[in-house]
């Protein structure tokens, strides 16, 4: 029962960060009494970098995907900066999520809305996009940081895109969850993979849509 509960909260953190395909599981390790989990994943999109990064901006806001990513309530751009000399774009977005899970989770965490902040750097000259997302709510229980990097695929730079993703999850030692944190692995890892697929599906769908749009209009 409690194991399930920890799993739920843990998942609920992971759930926000829609994953692409899980290819490597780097493993979990404990450092002092903090639980830290790190996951690294790679996925190849068979679409050019320009299309994939365009899709990434639309991932949470595209009305077509409201059902798949129904836990995303709002995405607001808080800040942006364009370096017009170097072609670098910096943005900060707030992602507001609805915390899924049963009532007792909400009881523990005291709220059913969670805010995350996503910082993005796009370098148009080197064709690189990097997103870093952290939760700013619920930090006394859990810290999740996700980094995603999109770059042209070395083997086929003009047509394919390599997505590398690192996620680290830290459950706070003094939280009510910490004493149970050791037990969560298996079920959570399974759920983690299931959720991963969703984010990738959305990205693939938007890429296809953008592909159709380009070939219809400009070719």
């Amino acid at each position: 029962m409690f194991q399930n509960l920890v799993c739920q909260l843990y998942l609920f953190a992971i759930y926000f960060f829609q994953m692409t395909k899980v290819e490597t599981y780097v493993g979990a390790y404990s450092k002092t009494n903090k639980m830290v989990k790190a996951y690294a994943q790679e996925h190849v999109y068979k679409h050019p970098w320009e299309r994939v990064t365009s899709a990434s901006w639309r991932k949470y806001t595209d009305p077509q995907n409201k059902c798949t990513l129904s836990h995303i309530l709002e995405v607001d751009t808080l800040n942006k900066k364009l370096d017009s000399e170097s072609g670098k774009l910096y943005t900060t977005r707030a992602i507001t999520l609805h915390a899924p899970g049963p009532w007792f989770i909400r009881k523990i965490v005291g709220q059913d809305i969670c805010h995350c902040v996503e910082s993005t750097v796009v370098d148009a000259q080197t064709r690189s996009m990097q997103l870093t997302t952290c939760n700013i709510s619920l930090q006394k229980f859990i810290e999740v940081e996700e980094k995603i990097h999109y770059e042209p695929h070395p083997g086929n730079p003009s047509c394919w895109t390599l997505c590398r993703q690192e996620t680290s999850i830290r459950i706070k030692p003094l939280s009510k969850l910490a004493s149970m944190a050791e037990k969560i692995e298996h079920r959570c890892a399974e759920k983690f993979m299931q959720n991963s697929v969703k984010g990738r599906e959305v990205m693939e769908r938007i890429c296809k849509y953008l592909e159709a749009e380009t070939s219809g209009i400009s070719l």
């Binding site: 806001t61 017009s84 590398r164």
Partner: protein, 86 residues
């Protein structure tokens, strides 16, 4: 699963139409200008100003509102994966 979830509103909901206008403008600018090397000129300025004004009025989370005024520097943006250049 999750499809029938009740949609709760957040504090920035009053800005929804300004947000959509800005994001649509941004997406167009990103694909059609920025990616094609035309990054010398900012666009969507009017949309951004309106949206931002609305946000500063309605964003009630103090953790979030500090990002509104912050000067964006690469240092705020965390480390990189494998030393990716920024």
């Amino acid at each position: 699963m999750g499809i029938a979830k009740v949609k709760s509103s957040s504090s920035t909901s009053p800005c929804a139409h300004l947000r959509t206008a800005y994001h649509n403008c941004f997406n167009r600018w990103y694909s059609e200008k920025f990616l094609k090397g035309q990054w010398d000129k900012e666009e969507c300025v009017a949309e951004w100003q309106k949206y931002r004004t609305c946000l500063s009025k309605h964003l009630d989370d103090k953790h979030l509102s500090r990002f509104l005024d912050a000067e964006l520097t690469p240092a705020d943006l965390g480390g990189s994966i494998d030393g990716v250049s920024r």
